[in-house]
Amino acid sequence: MSLHIESAKPEAGTPRARISLGIALAFIVIAIVVFCALFGASIAPDSPFTQRLEVGDAPPSGQFLAGTDLLGRDVFSRVIYGAWTALVGPLVVAVGAWVIATVLGLLSGYLGGMVDSATMRWVDFMLALPAPLIAIVVVGVVGGGYWTAVLVLIILFTAPDTRIVRSAVLEQRPRPYIDAARALGISKTRILFVHILPNVLPIVLAYVVLDFAFALVNLAGLSFLGLGVEPGTPDWGRMLFENRTILFTNPVALLLPAFMIILTAVSMNLIGDWLFERLTR
């Protein structure tokens, strides 16, 4: 969980033959999840909140495709509704962390000097911290659930992301077009945001997708510990937390959300790797 994107960077010699099929499937999976998040209410066969205590935790049947949980709620509908928290939080985390990281990385990489060394000390410090442990403890003590978790993850993700943007900026800085822009007397701000930024953005975009997958897994993890979304919210991580006790009576109630977490995260990682290869060469 704490293994950050630096290590998720695609390496040389990755076999490409299967990638295209994999990428197509990954896009289809993400499209389905997005569709469920947006139109879950119209496609779910049942309300995710209706309790049937007399039914209890029943295995899959014709009426309840994935069975029911302890309170008799339809697991299949809850999984469809769960697409919402699986997408929104990670999206906010990935975009939020990258907006901050891009600004910090641009300033630190281009200005150098004090700004750079201060930023890098902060990054080193953050990377030495056990981030997932901090997320659990801070979210648990401060309270506030899902959105506190999103905020904490943005802060924790910003540090490694800043380092990536900074090194991309350092690669651009010695190029002739920067010298040319400087010789023309263009302001620093303009050089940073009009000239360097567009050249750094492709890398940022690929990493936003990889960060998304990472944030999804982290948020699901916090919900699995009972610290993320509010009790009762249809959420894949929360379902694993609530349905832990019915592994013997209706295993699908655990296996389906678990499968969706992996499937979505794998798809996003594949798309991220693919974007990385396409956009950075």
Binding site: A12, L127, L247, F248, I262
Partner: protein
Amino acid sequence: MMRSGVLRLILVRLAVAVPLLLVISFGVFSLVHMAPGDPVRALLGTRPSDPETLAALRERYHLDDPLVVQYGKWLGQVLQGDLGRSINGNRLVLSSIKERAGVTIYLLLVSTAIVLAAGIALGMLAAFRRGGRLDRFVVMFGVFGISSPAFVTGIFLLYVFGVVLGWFPTFGAGRGFLDRFWHLTLPSLALALSIMAIVVKITRASMIEVMDRDYVAFARARGVSTTRITLSYILRNALIPVVTAGGIIVIGFLANAIYVEVTFALPGLGSLIVDSVQRRDIPLIQGTTLVLACFVVLVNLLVDVIYTLIDPRIRFSRVES
């Protein structure tokens, strides 16, 4: 000359680790104040709020002092091994931690062994068969491993080996050595799988890079045996990036251990911290967080030292400068 270089490096690392530990301890200390509402209320928990208990709490946590003084006094107590008492059950935090540490240490040792043995072996095999079927499988395994957190892997392992096949118990840590081994097999595997992907990925990538180096071609041309080339020319150099990634690997182990312990209902430090967080037992949270965070910093320090020892380039370059 060389020895003093290594010694200096260790001192430099220590000089970074000590402030880091201080900042972490300050963060842990401030948890009392981060909890919503009055610190005394947070420390009181569900106990009755009679004036005597409140006064005793204010006294124990020096809440009437300025913040910095509070921290100083608290740190002094911590350094003497006094982590206070838990809110629920009023037990010594230190003895709760001692009681739970065994399972976590066992879990970490077994899964580290699995990761180092199987992870490096798989990475090597994939690199040798680059582009082949095994390699493709390993690369796919890497993507899955990075995407599936330990609690999800754990649930699948529990279902397949615990429920369907019934080979392994589904909860608890067992008593005695053999029983414990049997109980901790699935958890160790779940933990190992979540970390292995990273080790396999790094090993594979750096093996491929090293295999193409001139000195390997030269050794081959000289007729050095394949085993010797693989072990002492390629592997030794290829493992350096794995050690460099030691920091994120250690943090990954710890984080995933927390999730694995909760998934398999194991009485370890990870489940202790989650229990205490769920019950908002601040002293217990503080003690456990402090111990785990110190563990991470110290293991990272150790990894840095090992890194310095196995890579002569670092040793010599620093000495020259």
